[in-house]
Symmetry: C2
Subunit: 235 residues, 2 copies
DNA sequence: TTGTGCATTATGTATGACATAATAAAAATA
DNA sequence: TATTTTTATTATGTCATACATAATGCACAA
């Protein structure tokens, strides 16, 4: 079925340029030959000769793989296969000013889902040191009268720590990618006006639950904690 | 501050190639000039002249932007700014055979988080038609004796429908990206052996809750439904 | 053995040329 | 005049070649 859809793509949409085809061929090469990270691929000239295209085309195709993080090329050693840091890469291209508003709003939603869904991982992997650190962060919690930026920083510190506790690096990168988006969406006119800022479950409340509650309790508490955001999304 | 960090980058790590600099300059151009989607950017030759580099370099920089989905270039009209379909793009570079195992496992975890965290969005946006469709999918639920592939297909149909109900296109793309990863992780020796396949809350159970329950109930039920996966991650 | 320097090699950059496709302008026809 | 066809123009896509640059390894000398 994978092959079929591939064929379809090729037959139906033959608007593909030469570089497109070469790119596909190279990716397939990586897949087929089961090359491992660190292995090096043929030189540009060799590829050009073997595929019967100019070096320019090869270079463009390789460049694409490089941008996608599949390879890295050094001056003499040629190109070697790397394990792509996906989110690190797209972080570069996530530009709130360029992404369309619908996508931005959706990414905002994604963050809410993740923070609620991470409960089990927090409970599974948290250490006493983590709890201590959380408590320390919470102890510095600013009251509502405090200046705005400081509040933001505190939010990031607290929630960022939660992401960290999950021990999931990919998730952490995802959060870093979402941070500017979140901030942007929060302040642009994308969401409904915030009618009343109520703090339902506080950060301290969350920590208490982490310390002596259950994942289930945490999910509900976090959902409640994020109510201000949800209420701006829904009616 | 943005300028400072930029300077630092340039001074500390001047391993950046010409293309790197041009790329950064172009991205900055897009940001500064607040160009909207659909606006076209200067021609390659013009850029080459203005920045004092060869067309080769300009082309490579533009190509990077293209791979990142920031621009699209047509034969005559030049390049126009587009709203990048991030996940569509990285889907292409998500290759389970190339990603390292730690990342794969983490992406597996991400999926679990999302499916639990999506509860509120499902309840907020589901329509009677959706419920009807869900019931129809469930009615065809195969029993455990049925052939394996059919079971997989059914899983994808059901959970995919849930993603769809959230109305979040970005999430949907994210799922499509995760699908091959999920399958791969599930079958490779990455996770602990599956001791006993128990179906806790069934698909039908989930539908019942969607129809007459609450987000809170759904989260717990989904967590339970995914227990087989969780148990392979945790002890 | 250690270090310096040179040769080699593969990518990075520059330049010029032509192909191709999309658009606009001009010409031809009804 | 209106409409279609042809032609010209333009900007990207592809090719070819030459040279710059940096990393690697080898040879030679201290």
């Amino acid at each position: 079925m994978a092959i079929n859809s591939l064929m379809e793509d090729f037959s139906s949409l033959d608007t593909s340029s030469l570089v497109d085809k070469v790119e596909a061929k190279l990716v397939q090469l990586l897949k087929d030959q089961k090359l491992n990270v660190g292995d090096s691929i043929p030189k540009e000239l060799e590829l050009a000769e073997r595929l019967g295209v100019s070096r320019t085309v090869i270079r463009e195709a390789l460049l694409r793989l490089r941008v996608m993080g599949l390879i890295e090329s050094k001056k003499k050693k040629g190109a070697v296969i790397t394990s792509p840091d996906i989110f690190g890469i797209i972080s570069k291209s996530v530009n709130p000013h360029i992404l369309d508003q619908a996508t931005l709003k959706e990414m905002f939603e994604l963050r809410l889902m993740l923070e609620i869904g991470m409960a089990d991982f927090i409970f599974q992997r948290i250490t006493p040191a983590d709890i201590k650190e959380l408590k320390q962060i919470v102890s510095k919690e600013p009251d509502a009268t405090q200046d705005y930026l400081f509040n933001i920083e505190h939010e990031i510190a607290f929630h960022g720590k939660l992401y960290e506790i999950t021990g999931n690096e990919t998730l952490k990168k995802f959060q870093r990618m979402l941070l500017p988006v979140f901030d942007y969406v929060h302040h642009s006119g994308l969401l409904k006006k915030q009618v009343s800022i109520k703090r339902f479950v506080s950060h301290k409340g969350l920590v208490d639950i982490i310390e002596s509650g259950s994942p289930e309790m945490f999910r509900n508490a976090m959902r409640n904690h994020l109510e201000n955001h949800f209420s701006r999304l829904f009616e």
